[in-house]
């Protein structure tokens, strides 16, 4: 590896971001090149010096510019996302509505079960009707139409 190539890889080497074979190449070069070895040591020293400013505050203007750049970057993606869900609150309400719809849907089945029972009721009704008292009894108690089962008994009690 040449010194020029080492220059392009020196920071990635220091960061430990080189691929295994690239790192091996770099280390081989460093073993035989005092100038590059010195540069690595000096760059490490620079790195340590930069570490001494942990609370480095990039100037407000710089921050604003970086934020503007970052904000400008994913705008295309966020535009349709914001159209889809203009606010988290609306998204929440929509999902709750959907949940409610699903819940109502799952609660619906009980009525069908009731209608399935109906034929049984109808057949007993039929039996009740077939064993009805003759018309003469009905004429004696015309007000008890609604109470089918009691209708034949009431005249006897009277």
């Amino acid at each position: 590896m040449s010194c020029e190539k080492m220059e392009t890889r020196i920071l990635a080497y220091m960061d430990g971001r080189l691929k295994e074979n690239e790192r091996a190449e770099a280390e081989k070069h460093l073993a035989g090149c005092a100038a590059c070895r010195l540069r690595v040591n000096e760059f490490r020293a620079v790195n340590d010096l930069l570490d001494e400013l942990p609370a480095i505050e990039p100037s407000g203007a710089f921050n604003a510019r970086v934020h503007a750049l970052v904000a400008a970057e994913p705008q295309k993606r966020s535009s349709w996302l914001t159209w889809l869900a203009p606010s988290p609150r609306i998204a929440f309400v929509a999902s709750m509505l959907l949940l409610a719809t699903v819940w109502v849907g799952t609660q619906a089945p009980p009525p069908p079960i009731a209608t399935q029972d109906l034929p049984v009721v109808e057949s007993t009704d039929y039996d009740v009707i077939s064993s009805f008292a003759p018309l003469s009894d009905l004429s004696q108690a015309p007000d008890d139409d609604a109470d089918d089962s009691d209708a034949p008994q009431q005249p006897q009690q009277m």
Binding site: R9, A45, L69
Partner: protein, 103 residues
Amino acid sequence: MDAPIVADTEEGDERMMEVADAHPDIEQHLVEKTRKKMIRHAIEKLPEKQRAAVLLHKYQELDYAEISKILKCSESALKSLLFRAYETLRVELAPLVAHSVKH
């Protein structure tokens, strides 16, 4: 008669020790302050794109792909940008760098 004298000398010693301790603190504080000022100044003097690359790489800990996206350049351009920035910092901070390389 003896007791107050002993107390006086003790107080005197304490005061002297306080003064003696304070000096290195102030000196160290000033050295630190100057050092940080130099580092900050060296970063501020970098060309804007190099400065942005260093700040994003070093302090925001973004990876090369993210930084090159923000700075709208290729990854290889970013690597040479960072290399040039470190070269400049190495020269600007030569006294501090030489000091820490020796140790």
